[in-house]
Symmetry: C2
Subunit: 150 residues, 2 copies
């Protein structure tokens, strides 16, 4: 099984692909431990334009099992590098309207610097490595955009 | 009135001191606009230790009117510098238990880089300038800590 040798020991982790609406408070609750003074979250949302062209909706598709395994691997790397107490990543799939949340990442640490750096880095790694595809719906057509875009 | 000449024109702002529990999702909703692809939040929480000494609770006191005016000024500065669409800061007061949220900051922007930088900077400015005092309760005593600590 992919990533088995790298299992996160912390119980304060979560790596999930879901078609349900996302809550930021839920992920804060997952990652927070009594030793933490800081949680940083990134919330990705559906923007009404891309490169100046009006967007009316976005659709996300993921190979869920592979995406969750890759998020897990990223979680292990980021926890070790930044000495985090917890990390969670939840990506939504399906067709989303403007303003809806597509992804949430949360990192927890004793102090704020590590939580900020780790959250930003986890997001970059997610965009580079996690297999999620995005379809942009414009007023006059639609186009699939590869992993790593946006 | 302090800060009147610097009034934030965006309606996607909030600067508040409250004795009620804090929700991260509430602040995300305040700052998010249709032109945003990114919201970053910082969530400050009550940690069970400080410099290795066990903490059992924290108490925050603020001069609310001054604190809100200073958060407003910081918001104006950070919005202008990072071209944000929204920013919100809500600080809780009163006696909090381990794991409770003491402060939430949320920033929204079209792209993630500005949202991260702005959130981190707003937090540094809040700690440096906003008049909030903290009492640390230890197992064997308590001590008031000035603005800017922790």
């Amino acid at each position: 099984m992919i990533g088995q040798s790298n299992t996160v020991v912390s119980t304060h982790t979560l790596f999930e692909v879901t078609d349900q609406p996302l809550s930021v408070d839920d992920l804060v609750e997952v990652v927070l431990t009594e030793g933490d003074g800081a949680v940083v979250t990134f919330v990705g949302t559906v923007r009404d334009n891309t490169n100046g062209r009006k967007v009316v909706a976005l659709e996300y598709e993921a190979y869920a099992e592979m995406a969750e395994a890759e998020m897990h691997r990223i979680g292990v790397e980021v926890i070790e590098k930044w000495k985090l107490h917890g990390i969670a990543m939840r990506h939504r799939t399906g067709k989303l309207s403007i303003g809806e949340i597509s992804v949430v990442i949360a990192t927890s640490a004793p102090h704020r610097e590590a939580a900020f750096e780790a959250c930003s880095e986890a997001l970059d790694l997610l965009k580079a490595r996690v297999p999620v595809w995005k379809k942009e719906y414009f007023e006059d057509g639609e186009v699939w955009v590869g992993q790593g875009a946006g």
